[in-house]
């Protein structure tokens, strides 16, 4: 049994909300109801639950169990993956591993979070001692430092970052599930003119945190066939790297674990980076996508600006990029699972007005937290292909 022997047989997502007026478990129940409808499964056929890092659930040591209890699920496997923005893809890999190990047969992967309405997380890390007293408050500051480093080493054309912002916004305009507040057209001039947050990070570089929920059903391909399910998506390659160059005091902040995780995931899938048909990178800041393009091998380090200039990232372009709008233009919701769920939707051929032509595969990535003075702490890459 391997990763490739599993299948995503259903996906569901709720519309992204600025602030949820419904409880996080109500959102979870709505997602589960949709997944049961779409998969044709009975609830009792779900014997596994994998949940991603949730700001609302963070204070509860029994979060997945409590959620299972609320949803009326009796399980053989119950797990929570706490890797920040890597959790959505990491949940797929762990659920597949659980199925392959014989722990369970069919897993509900649930991404439900109301972190705006009900944030319960608290950070116990270097921040309190080593960055907050100096006013470096979280991701915008960290990415401000990264952007300056990149600019100094390679040069940076902010209008080209604006091109990425506009492309994703255009995709959000075609995505009814994107947060309504963000579904307004923008131009490169709007990007360049947006106010500075942590210079050189502008407002339109950043994600807006939002509330929402989404989910997947993962089972074995064998079972999918037995159930007569015609269309599904197969995870064909996955890798993650946490704390790239751990223990090295002077690591290069422009290098991330994606230089390891990307090639490993592609090798497992048996394809090359040039074969990728659509790209769904974790996007908390625009510069993060450029760094990932370089680390994953779409272009070489330092060539990101030329690559962005020469590539059409529209859903009908050379390399469709975050075709649902990405987190930056759809709102950062549902445990950062939106880019993953969008990729599944594309490979199912259900993306409507923004449907990509080439559905041979999709590459989804994750970024989990930011460690001190370096790059992001966790890097993950997942290759998806349609099954038959």
């Amino acid at each position: 049994m391997s990763l490739k022997d599993t299948a995503i047989i259903a996906h569901a997502e709720l519309k992204v909300m600025e602030r949820s007026d419904r409880d996080v478990w109500q959102l979870g129940a709505e997602v589960l109801e949709q997944l049961l409808d779409r998969s044709g499964l009975e609830k009792r056929e779900i014997d596994g639950l994998a949940m991603a890092t949730s700001s609302t659930g963070a204070g509860n040591m029994f979060w997945p169990q409590a959620t299972a209890d609320m949803l009326g699920l009796e399980l053989d496997y119950c797990d929570e993956v706490m890797m920040g923005g890597c959790s959505p893809v990491a949940c797929v890999a762990r659920a597949a591993a659980a199925i392959n190990a014989g722990l369970c047969t069919t897993v509900l992967i649930l991404y439900a979070d109301t972190g705006v309405a009900e944030p319960n997380a608290h950070d116990r890390s270097y921040r309190r001692e080593w960055t907050e007293p100096y006013g470096l408050m979280g991701p915008p500051g960290g990415f401000g430092l990264l952007t300056r480093s990149y600019e100094q080493r390679y040069g940076l054309d902010y209008a080209l970052l604006g091109k990425l912002a506009v492309t994703q916004r255009n995709h959000a305009l075609l995505n009814d599930m994107a947060c309504e507040k963000l579904r307004k057209p923008i131009t490169v001039a709007d990007y360049l003119g947006s106010r500075m947050i942590a210079e050189p990070i502008r407002l339109l570089d950043c994600v807006m945190r939002a509330d929402g929920a989404a989910g997947l059903i993962l089972t074995s391909r064998k079972r999918a066939k037995e159930k007569g399910i015609a269309r599904y998506v197969v995870p064909t390659g996955y890798a993650e790297r946490v704390n790239y160059r751990a223990g090295e005091a002077f690591a290069d902040p422009l290098e991330s674990g994606h230089v390891v995780a990307g090639p490993r995931a592609l090798k497992q899938a048996g394809i090359a980076i040039g074969d990728i048909a659509s790209f769904h990178p974790y996007d908390d800041f625009l510069i993060a996508m450029v760094l990932q393009m370089e680390a994953l091998g779409f272009c070489r380090p330092g060539e990101g600006m030329a690559y962005v200039r020469d590539t059409n990232f529209a859903y009908d372009g050379d390399l469709p990029l975050n075709t649902g709008g990405g987190q930056i233009s759809a709102g950062q919701a549902a445990c950062s699972s939106e880019n993953l769920v969008e990729a599944v939707e594309q490979l199912m051929g259900e993306a409507g007005a923004r449907q990509v032509r080439d559905t041979r595969n999709a590459l989804v990535t994750g970024i989990g937290w930011i460690n001190y003075g370096r790059n992001w702490g966790a890097s993950a890459a997942l290759v998806l292909e349609p099954g038959a």
Partner: protein, 136 residues
């Protein structure tokens, strides 16, 4: 500034960094040197990333270095920082090698990576002194 007036976030020294913050109160910048392999490290951690030794000795740094990167914060991230923006957060590459995050006490109009800086100790409360930097 009295302790009551200081509303910005403060460190809560723990076992790994008590010596560092005590050094700051004496206006000395201390960095950890591994007792096992003599590697210098930042920030203060319970184990050497290179040789796994648990013991380290704080050694005094010169307090001089260069700007490795910087970001100017324009938006107050919490109410305490209202009225403080804009301010400039820096990553300083110390002469001894380690890179530490801090802030400039005042930002010159033209700031660039590579500029030389030196530490300035600010006694922000009766108990806490923060090491900040100024361009020299």
């Amino acid at each position: 500034m009295s302790a009551d007036a200081y509303a910005l976030p403060l460190p809560r020294p723990g076992p790994d960094d008590a010596a560092f913050w005590a050094g700051c109160r004496r206006h000395e910048l201390l960095i950890q040197r591994c007792d096992g392999c003599t590697a210098l490290r930042w920030w203060n951690a319970p184990m050497c990333g290179r040789c796994n030794a648990l013991e380290a000795t704080p050694v005094r740094a010169s307090g001089r270095g260069t700007i490795f990167s910087y970001t100017t914060t324009h938006r107050a991230f919490s109410p305490a920082w209202q009225g403080k923006v804009p301010y400039t957060v820096v990553v300083v590459e110390l002469e001894e090698g380690p890179r530490m995050t801090s802030m400039l006490v005042e930002a010159p109009a033209a700031l660039r990576i590579g500029q030389h800086v030196e530490v300035v100790f600010e006694d922000v409360t009766g108990e806490v002194t923060l090491p900040k930097f100024r361009v020299i």
